[in-house]
Assembly symmetry: C2
Homo-oligomer: 223 residues x 2
């Protein structure tokens, strides 16, 4: 392919993860950042230098898995992000039991499309986050070996056997994703249409509602 | 949240990564599988047991980074997947230079929205795939430390300094994403509307074209 075909048509897409032309500042995702699935991200605890990156993800929700008060409350309020806090002790010594009911409640939030785009994080994005993502994979019937392969990738040398045992024992048979595809498309449009003025977004909103009125019923029935 | 609110409304979404109700077979992604970005996946070389999982991703393209003939050619043909092969030697001893021109050509394919959903893979999803994903992150202006953090997560103990040096030296200043948001939405609709009959898909196609006719021009201008 000749280099002349490098076009700028995709700038609305590129904006999502930080394209900004020459000379724009470096993008700094939180350590252990990754995409779990459509609309679901995971990471360690974001610090001030990560917030410009998170802003570009246009998050609708954060699932925070530590008991301590949240440090990024200003960022969350400014960006109208719903904060779901599930306080789970992270200490390994002495070992604290992973509270199954709390993980189950957090998983229900993660399975709800209307909370997307959503970021899951604890302190280091290894253990509590790894357990929740592992349970999410169980809902989607991943083989245990595949789930633990992913857990290990993020936990590295700090992998904990009790986390893996918890995921193995977790019964995901009554959990499933909920929400409507058109709601997801609505945030998807917003995520990719970065740099909109408020007025333009309002106009986009009304176009989305038109689309939903015209096509939502049929699509939901046929999918 | 009471458990009764666990609904089945989201089955079209859940289908993407393998929800299939009770008793459905285990889902087995390839080792080192991960989501790079919207519509971009990475993994090791998929084997026969991984193909049912890949089918659910409704891939439009595969970027294959080894010089050897492709083993999954039947799967690719059956599912009308475009195969982009970029033959890069993977051996470390004796060290083979990473061909910058080839990486650049592969990156152009990865940056083209019309190829999504797309899977990048080599043999183990560590080195050649890690280099290409690293260059992709450079296009999006990730800090080098963040890029190498991600490279290490997938390469583990097999991380190679020369791969990291290549990514550091790679000049991504003239590369950017290309394609149109409505094309991406079109495949996104398909990906989530799993289990359609051909007739239903045709009807969906025409609805998409209606949406594009009605709204595409305005959105492309305002995004």
């Amino acid at each position: 392919m000749p280099s002349s075909d490098v076009s700028s048509d995709g700038s609305e897409l590129a904006a999502l993860l930080g394209d900004g032309g020459k000379g724009s500042p470096k993008v700094i995702p939180p350590p252990n950042f990754g995409m779990v699935d459509w609309g679901i991200y995971r990471s360690s605890y974001p610090t001030a230098e990560n917030l410009p990156f998170l802003k570009k993800l246009r998050l609708r929700s954060i699932v925070y898995l530590c008991p301590e008060p949240y440090l990024n409350h200003e960022f969350v309020a400014e960006n109208k992000i719903k904060l779901f806090q599930f306080g789970i002790e992270g200490k390994c010594e002495p070992a604290v039991e992973i509270p199954e009911g709390v993980i189950r409640d957090a998983l229900r939030v993660v399975l709800d499309v209307e909370n997307y785009p959503l970021l899951i994080h604890c302190n280091r994005g290894k253990h509590r986050t790894g357990v929740l993502v592992g349970c999410y994979r169980k809902v989607h019937k991943w083989s245990l070996a595949s789930i633990l392969d992913e857990y290990d990738r993020y936990a590295g040398a700090k992998a904990r056997l009790r986390d893996k045992q918890f995921v193995e024992a977790f019964d995901a048979s009554r959990m499933q994703r909920k929400g409507q595809i058109w709601k997801a498309i609505s945030w998807w449009l917003r995520a990719f249409c970065d740099g909109q003025t408020l007025q333009e977004l309002k106009s986009l909103d009304s176009r989305e509602r038109e689309i939903e009125r015209a096509h939502g019923h049929n699509c939901r029935n046929s999918c």
